[in-house]
Subunit: 351 residues, 2 copies
């Protein structure tokens, strides 16, 4: 039988002490972690990047198929990705957890295990936060900081006409992973005797449940001596992010359908679900890939780079955001993506 310790048995201070003991500080930029009114950090003469993300049960995750450890891992990754998207590395996080009495001490341990695993792999220190109760549901609110020299920070607003549009990895896989999980949940609900069939979906399930942030891409950009003109992470879907870059940079963008990187497993599952793979890749979201623009002069530096795809180029603002289809027709894209207040992923109607 599994052990279950009520949070009220250890209390808030007991829990904070337990977390404090589990956490190790490894960065020279962390002067003081958990254990005072605030953590003390050393920006080491760089500028500071800071970003916050909140994940709510039933909206951003479904505990019926999300292991708590993976959830903790993902919550950290999502935040790391925001700092990487500024061309900087995440260094410290604070974690605020809101837990209903449904959750045991063991459950909290699992969430922190996932968070600390991500911290360990990405070289990030957990330096503070808050642990408190809710009337119902689980809330994970993380703030991440990183440091970078002023002239190496990359914003959304620097794209210029003629720049090449690049994206790392592949798109749409996390979305298809979610479809598989939702389908199996539905089947299980209708007949609990049926075991979920998750076979042959390893890649897309991992993309949904345990995504990675592209620290390797930021590193490789540095190695290749490429400073993007603009950058954003793909959390709400490629089209949505393209619109952010276009809006902020006051430019247009044209991408080519046949250049969009889609994994074979994603494409196969999309077919099964009678979705166009392209639509899934355009609007899926939760990819945590990096979308960035580079000067044409930097093309030679990235030409042989297998981890990225060049999917289009920046145009004049009046051109807005367009896609050239496989057959050569031009489609005006519309920002869709995920909207927390609509609580659903809207299918593209651009096709």
């Amino acid at each position: 039988m599994e052990e279950r310790t009520e949070l009220s048995e250890v209390g808030e201070f007991g829990l904070i002490k337990k977390i404090e003991e589990a956490v190790k500080i490894s960065l020279s930029s962390t002067i003081k972690g958990i254990g005072d009114d605030a953590a003390v950090l050393d920006p080491e003469n760089k500028k500071l990047l800071i970003s916050s993300d909140m994940l709510n049960e039933g909206v951003h995750f479904d505990l019926s198929y999300t292991p708590l450890k993976h959830l903790g891992y993902k919550a950290a990754i999502v935040n790391f990705s925001d700092i990487l998207a500024m061309n900087a590395y995440p260094s410290q996080i604070t974690v605020s957890l809101g837990l209903s009495n449904r959750f045991s001490l063991e459950a909290v341990d699992e969430i922190y295990e996932g968070i600390l695993k991500a911290c360990d792999l990405y070289n990030v220190d957990l330096v503070g936060g808050d642990t408190t109760s809710t009337l119902s549901g689980l809330v994970i609110s993380i703030t991440v900081v990183g440091y970078q020299e002023k002239d190496k920070i990359v914003y959304r607003d620097g794209a210029k006409e003629g720049d090449l549009i690049c994206v790392s990895g592949d798109l749409g896989s996390a979305y298809m992973g979610l479809q598989i999980l939702e389908r199996e949940k539905q089947i299980f609900k209708e007949d609990p005797r049926v075991q979920p069939d998750l076979s042959n979906n390893d890649y897309i399930l991992e993309r949904q449940l345990k995504p990675e942030a592209r620290k390797d891409i930021v590193r490789e950009l540095e190695t290749r001596g490429v400073l993007p003109t603009s950058m954003i992470d793909v959390s709400d879907g490629l089209v949505s992010e393209l619109f952010h870059i276009a809006d902020k940079s006051k430019v247009g963008a044209t991408i080519y359908a046949d250049k969009i990187p889609i994994d074979a497993q994603t494409a196969n599952r999309a077919d099964e679900f009678q979705l166009a793979p392209e639509t899934v890749a355009l609007n899926g979201g939760e990819d945590y890939e990096l979308l960035f623009t580079i000067k044409q002069a930097d093309y030679a530096k990235v030409r042989d780079w297998k981890q990225i795809a060049i999917i289009g180029h920046i145009t004049d603002e009046a051109e807005s955001v367009k896609m050239v289809s496989q057959t050569g027709s031009i489609i005006n894209l519309k920002a869709q993506g995920w909207d927390a207040f609509l609580n659903k992923e809207r299918k593209s109607d651009s096709k």
Copy 2:
């Protein structure tokens, strides 16, 4: 009739845009606020202080008697207080809001109005965050940062035997304000025709609903040339905070009951509720006053300072935390205060 706009009508991006427009940047340390993957801040060669606090509906606040604007104000103040408690000034915050569909756009506006009012008064920039939905209830998660020179940062662990224990303002008033609000709520529940009687409680109600953080105290310490040896803000109750300082500094503490600052309104209401005013002041919580220790050599610098009370002195670790009562008897204090997982304020059993 009041206007009501559903959040789903404006959507997440619409809401972010609205917030972005309402927010003004006023500090030179804010390079880039809302509108990118992360905010960019300039620590201006100082060290960075960072702290996060989460407030959950039904646990930390009750919307049946808490105006949303005050709630926003208080959520910001609670965070500012953590940076002030390190002997630094809050400079920027990120705000993550989780809202159920019970909340309208107008409600969100009110919360932000309160937050921005606090930012304005304390000279803090709102630079980012997240706005998302919950299945039920309201969650406000704020992260605050500030900057300070390394040798001016005051921790909890610097108190030394013989140091004087000081506290700003008065204690227990926010707790008594809460008792009044809870009493009137109860009466209203039993008979909705009865109008709540909140008269003659202005001070304690304001302390509960719209507290202030003691920026003036940190400033005055600087003016008087006093660097505390340790400091903490009184959020969970005086005794609880004394234990934190004692634990971290590896010292004991003795305070004198007759030195504890209690406002007359607090004392009168405590009497009415058949509570010892002292108990309320010791364990009440949410005072957001500053508790700090200073060297005896600094006594002359604070002697005439009306805003603070010297309530005792630091002793040897073996002495633990004690109080000398009005009659001269010695009481061993026990850490109690507010525990989020017990969901109640426990009455002192030290008397």
